[in-house]
Each structure stands twice: as structure tokens, then as C-alpha cells.
Symmetry: C2
Subunit: 136 residues, 2 copies
DNA sequence: TCCTACGATGGACTTCGTCCAAGTCAAGAA
DNA sequence: TTCTTGACTTGGACGAAGTCCATCGTAGGA
């Protein structure tokens, strides 16, 4: 994910080993880790990285739009590096596992003006819930 | 909401004053309260009701499908008594306010088999995010 | 190489929620 | 009506997730 690192550098971020490791951990498809999972994996590469730094870095990545926060019901937030391609989620009610699924239309356009109550609607989050094969 | 109380009675629930008050607090349209808000309002009518009982009762109402949990990003869960009519949410990113909106025949649960990854899909949660007129 | 502002650290703290042992009471039985 | 009993409630301890902050360390420009 040196692409991401490049973009961070061009935003004036210092490329610390901690940020590098967090970026590496977030690489891949169907990645939706909790902050603690990110910390665990980051610590495997850089043992002394702190929880606070992981939270700080994730928060910054979210703020600049490189990572999305996925909302959950009563579980820890999950962080999604797949922010460039719009997609939806399939979430297991048993174990919390998440898969990416891809929309067949413009979901935003599905909300007619008459249902917007004067809101400036900017995004839509769609989550399918069910049980994964392992939990069923 | 004596309808709800009737249904609870027919399920064998004891109709305690605490449960009555929680049910009363949840009555109305566009109601999406946090557990603490429910406790606050319930305590206005029944001062000694405990937080534990509010959590217990909300959990039971959710378990039997009378109330829905609305997921939020990093904020407290919200409880939605409008479980009988399927609907979606319009949430203000500024103040957290939630309005109910109703789908216009968009393919709600129509996640194609090829995108289900073997999951047993049971429901879908759709949340539009934006700024309400007051926050815009 | 040196400087220093930006970033990392760990531990205290907050918020949201769960758990539990002990006390209370709704509602059926007699 | 009173009795009985197990379902319900309670307060407080506990836990998980996340924030804050004083202090220390270092990336990267001069
Ligand atoms: Mn995703
Ligand atoms: Mn609702
Ligand atoms: Zn599962
Ligand atoms: Zn608002």
C-alpha cells in the first residue's frame, strides 16, 4: 500500500514506522478490522506500538477519507480501507465478520426528494445482516 | 401503547410498573432513543427505576422483535419502537437526529445469490446520512 | 549534525453496557 | 383474601471500547 503512503506524504504526514505499519495492516480485500485487531497485527511487526497511536492514525485516515468507519450494533467499530470503490456490507450477526458486496444501482438516488425532509443527503450505508456459513 | 402491553402479557411477561413505563416512553413516531434517554424519561415517571432494568427490558423487547436496535457510528445504540413497519433512516451527521423514511419499491432485500457468500441473509439496514436543515 | 514541531507513548479517565447476589412483588393457588 | 414462589428489580462492581493528556522521542528540513 505504498500508494496510500505516497498520498499521506503529499499531505504532509510524517512517515513514521507506526503509520507505515498501520497502513500495511490495512492492505487487502474484505478488510474490516476493529481498532484492537489493527493494534494486534501492527504489534506483531512493531511490538512497541501503542493503542493510542493506532486510534490516532485510524481517526486521521478516516478524517481524510482514506478509510471508512463501519457502524455495528453493540460491537467495536470496524475500519475499512476500501474507501475508493463504493460498496455495501454483508455482516454476520453471529461472529461479526463482514464481506463486501457491490450495489446494482445508485442507492442514493433511491431516496426521493419528497422523503428528504430538507436534508442535504451525502451518503448511504447499506448493511445486509445474516449468518455466515460457519455460524449457521 | 397498551397494544404492546397486551402482547407482552400474552407472552407471559409480568406487567411490572417498570416495564409499563418503558413501554410508555417508547410510544410515538420517529422515536429513536438511547438507553440512557429511555432511563431518563422513565425515571421522570418512576423515579427509582434502575438502569439495569431499562437495559434488561430493552434487550427483551429487541429479542422478541418489538423494538429494533439502530446502529450508530461510535455513539450509543438507539432503540426504535417502530418495528412493525419496515423503514429506513435519515440521520443528521451534525446533531444525530434521526427521521424515518420509507422505501419506494427499491429492491430492499434483493441481494443476488451470487453476492451472498453462503450467508443466510435475514434483514437489511439502510441509513442515509447528511445534514438536517438546522445543521446545514 | 542539529533543532524542533509533530507524533508516539502509557496510563488515567469516560462512556456504554453487562453481570450478579440479594431483596421485592405480580399473579396464580387455595 | 392471604399465601407462595419464581420472575423481576436493584445498586454496584465489573468490563469493553474509546478518549485525553503530560511527557518523551524522532522525522525531516535547515
Ligand atoms: Mn467494506
Ligand atoms: Mn425508525
Ligand atoms: Zn459468523
Ligand atoms: Zn442536525
Amino acid at each position: 500500500m505504498s500508494d496510500l503512503l505516497q498520498r499521506l506524504r503529499s499531505r504532509g504526514w510524517r512517515l513514521t514506522s507506526q503509520r507505515r505499519v498501520v497502513a500495511e495492516v490495512l492492505d487487502g480485500d474484505h478488510v474490516h478490522l476493529t481498532a484492537d485487531e489493527v493494534h494486534l497485527r501492527a504489534a506483531a511487526r512493531l511490538p512497541e506500538i501503542s493503542r493510542a497511536t493506532v486510534y490516532n492514525t485510524l481517526g486521521e485516515l478516516v478524517a481524510i477519507g482514506e478509510v471508512l468507519e463501519v457502524s455495528t450494533v453493540g460491537r467495536a467499530k470496524r475500519y475499512d480501507p476500501n474507501a475508493r470503490r463504493p460498496h455495501q456490507h454483508l455482516m454476520c450477526s453471529g461472529c461479526g465478520m463482514i464481506r463486501d458486496v457491490h450495489p446494482v444501482g445508485n442507492a442514493l438516488g433511491d431516496l426521493p426528494e419528497s422523503e428528504r425532509f430538507g436534508f442535504a443527503v451525502g451518503s448511504v450505508e447499506i448493511t445486509y445482516r445474516g449468518l455466515c456459513p460457519a455460524c449457521a
